[in-house]
Symmetry: C2
Subunit: 326 residues, 2 copies
C-alpha cells in the first residue's frame, strides 16, 4: 500500500488543478472558496485507501474521491447556512461572505458537480458507485433533518442520537470506503465489510468531535470552543449528563437553568456546564462509547481476505483519527 | 405514436404510486407535497414523446421522465425560497408551509432522488443520460444565478436576458427531449437536433410566460397576475419597454418612476405599466420574438429521418404550448 502522504498529495494536486466553472462567478466562486478552505480530506483519503486495500492501481480512485469531497463540502455549505454558522475552518462561511441565496444555489451546483465528478470515473461499476453515492447522500440529508428536529424537542434518547450521527456523519465514511473497495474490484461482501468498518469508525469519530468541542486544546481548535454548550447542542455529552442528573435534584436544576437561560455570559456557561460534565465523568463515558464503536469496527476487517500488513495500515490510520486534537 | 393523453396517464400513474421516503417526515413530506401540486408535467411528457419519436417502446422512458420532473420541481422549490414566493400553483410554497431550512434540505434530498430515479433506468446509455442530466442541471443553476444577478443590476440587455432564460428554462426542455431520444436509440446527431428543437421551443415558451404574467386571463392564472410588474422583474416586456422609452423623455420618466417607487399601490402600478406596454406595442413585439424562436425550432426537425406524421404530432404539441392561457 502507498503511504497516507502519497494519497494526500494526489488529492491535493487534483483539488489544486480542479476548475468548477467561471460564469456566473457568484455561482462558482463559493465552490472554489469552500473547497480551498482545506480540511483533513479524510473522505477522499478513505476512497484511495479502500481501493489500494484490494488493488494497487489507485489512479481510478481520483474522480470518485473528489466526488465524495465535493459532496461533503456541499453538505458543510448548506448545513452552515441552516445552522447560521458564521465560521468554517476559521474563515467566513459562504452565506456570510456572500449571501443566503448564493449559498443555496452554489451548494446546489456543487452537488451536481459532485455527480459529474463521479461520472468521470469510467469504471464498469459506475451504476453501483452511483447507487452507493446517492444512498449515502440521502442518508446524510436524513441525518441533518433529525439533527435539526432534535434542536426543538426536549427529550432525545442516546439511541436516537447515535442513529442521527450514523446518518449525518458515519455513513459517508462507510460510503467512501465502499466506493473505494468496489473501484479496487472487491466483492460486494468485502466492500460491505469496509462500509461497516467505516460506519463504526465514523460513529467513534463523531463522539470524538463531541468530546473535542468541550475538551480540545483551544489554540488548535478550528471552531468556537464550547460552541456546543453555548448552543445547547444535544451532543452525547449533554444527553448523557441529562440522563445522569435525573437522580440528583440539585444538579438537574443547575444544568436545566443553564440550558434554559435566555441570557448568559458564554464563557461562564461553558465553565459551569463543563464542571457538571467533569463531576459526572461524562468525558470518560463518551470515550468508552467511542472505544466501543472503534472496537466494533475492527471486527468487520477480520474476515476480509487481504494481508495482515494492509489491515494494520488501515487500523493505524483509524487509530490516528481517534487521537486527533482538532 | 401514442397519444398525449396516454403518455400523461402513464406519468400520472407513476407519480401517484411514487414514494419518496417516510422518516424523517419533515424531509419527505415537502417532496410529496410539491410533487402533488400538479402542473403540466411538460418535461416528462417530452421524454416520452422523444422516445416514441424514434422507438415505440416507451416503457423505458418512465424513470428518466420522473427524474426530470423531480429535478424540475426541486428547482421550483429552491427558486421559490430564493425568490421568497408565497404561492406555487395557488398553494403555499414549501418554505411558507414549513420553513426555510426544511425547504433547503428537502430540496437537496429531492435532487438526490432525481438522480436515483434516473439511475433506475437500466439503459445502456445511462452514462450519457447522466451527462445530459447533469449538464442541464448545472445550466439551470447558472440561469437562476444570472436571474438573481439581473435583479440588482440596472441595465440588462435583451441578449443577456435571452441567454438567461435559455439556461434557466429552455435547456431543460432540450435535455428532456435529448434524454428521450437516446432512450429511443436515436443517434447522437438526431438526439442533438431534438435538443435544439426543445431549447428554442423553451425560449418561445418562456417569452409566452412573460406575456401571460401581464396579459393572462386572471381567473385561469395560477400565480399573482402582474407579479412581474410589481416586482420590477426584468422580463422581455420590461427590457423591451426600457429600450423603447429611451427616446421618449416623458414616458421614460413615468416608467422609471414606477420602477423606483419605494411605496405604491400594486394594482395601480400594474395598470400603469401595462398601459405603457400597450402604448409601445410591447406585447406584439414579444409575440414576434416568440414566433421567431418557434419557427427556428422547427428547422431542427427537418433533417431527422422519421415519418412526417411523427413530426406533425410533435409540432402540433409544440403549437399547443404556444396558445396556452396558464
Amino acid at each position: 500500500m502507498q503511504t497516507i502522504t502519497s494519497y494526500q498529495q494526489q488529492i491535493e494536486d487534483a483539488l489544486k488543478n480542479k476548475k468548477y466553472g467561471s460564469d456566473p462567478k457568484e455561482l462558482y466562486d463559493p465552490i472554489s472558496y469552500i473547497m480551498s478552505l482545506g480540511g483533513k480530506r479524510l473522505r477522499p483519503l478513505l476512497v484511495f485507501m479502500a481501493c489500494d486495500f484490494f488493488d494497487g492501481n489507485t489512479s481510478k480512485a481520483i474522480h470518485p474521491a473528489l466526488a465524495i469531497e465535493l459532496f461533503h463540502n456541499f453538505t458543510l455549505l448548506h448545513d452552515d447556512l441552516m445552522d447560521k454558522a458564521p465560521l468554517r475552518r476559521n474563515q467566513s462561511t459562504v452565506h456570510e461572505k456572500w449571501n443566503n441565496n448564493i449559498a443555496i444555489l452554489s451548494g446546489d451546483a456543487m452537488m451536481v458537480r459532485a455527480y459529474q465528478e463521479l461520472c468521470m470515473s469510467k469504471s464498469n461499476s459506475l451504476p453501483q458507485l452511483l447507487d452507493i453515492f446517492s444512498d449515502t447522500a440521502i442518508k446524510v440529508c436524513e441525518g441533518q433533518q433529525y439533527d435539526m428536529n432534535y434542536e426543538t424537542i426536549s427529550k432525545v434518547s442516546i439511541p436516537q442520537y447515535i442513529k442521527m450521527i450514523e446518518l449525518k456523519t458515519a455513513v459517508l465514511l462507510g460510503g467512501a470506503l465502499k466506493i473505494g473497495a468496489l473501484l479496487g474490484d472487491a466483492s460486494e461482501e468485502n466492500a460491505q465489510r469496509l462500509y461497516d468498518f467505516g460506519k463504526n469508525i465514523g460513529l467513534a469519530f463523531q463522539l470524538q468531535d463531541d468530546i473535542l468541542d468541550v475538551y480540545a486544546d483551544a489554540s488548535k481548535f478550528g471552531k468556537q470552543k464550547g460552541g456546543d454548550i453555548i448552543a445547547n447542542k444535544k451532543t452525547y455529552l449533554l444527553l448523557k449528563a441529562l440522563e445522569m442528573v435525573e437522580g440528583n435534584r440539585f444538579m438537574k436544576e443547575e444544568l436545566h437553568q443553564w440550558i434554559n437561560a435566555p441570557h448568559f455570559d458564554a464563557e461562564e456557561k461553558v465553565i459551569a456546564v463543563t464542571n457538571i460534565y467533569n463531576f459526572l465523568n461524562v468525558k470518560e463515558l463518551a470515550q468508552n462509547e467511542m472505544q466501543k464503536y472503534f472496537e466494533l469496527s475492527l471486527t468487520y476487517l477480520k474476515d476480509i481476505p487481504v494481508t495482515a500488513s494492509k489491515k494494520e495500515a488501515l487500523i493505524a490510520f483509524a487509530e490516528s483519527l481517534m487521537v486527533r486534537e482538532v
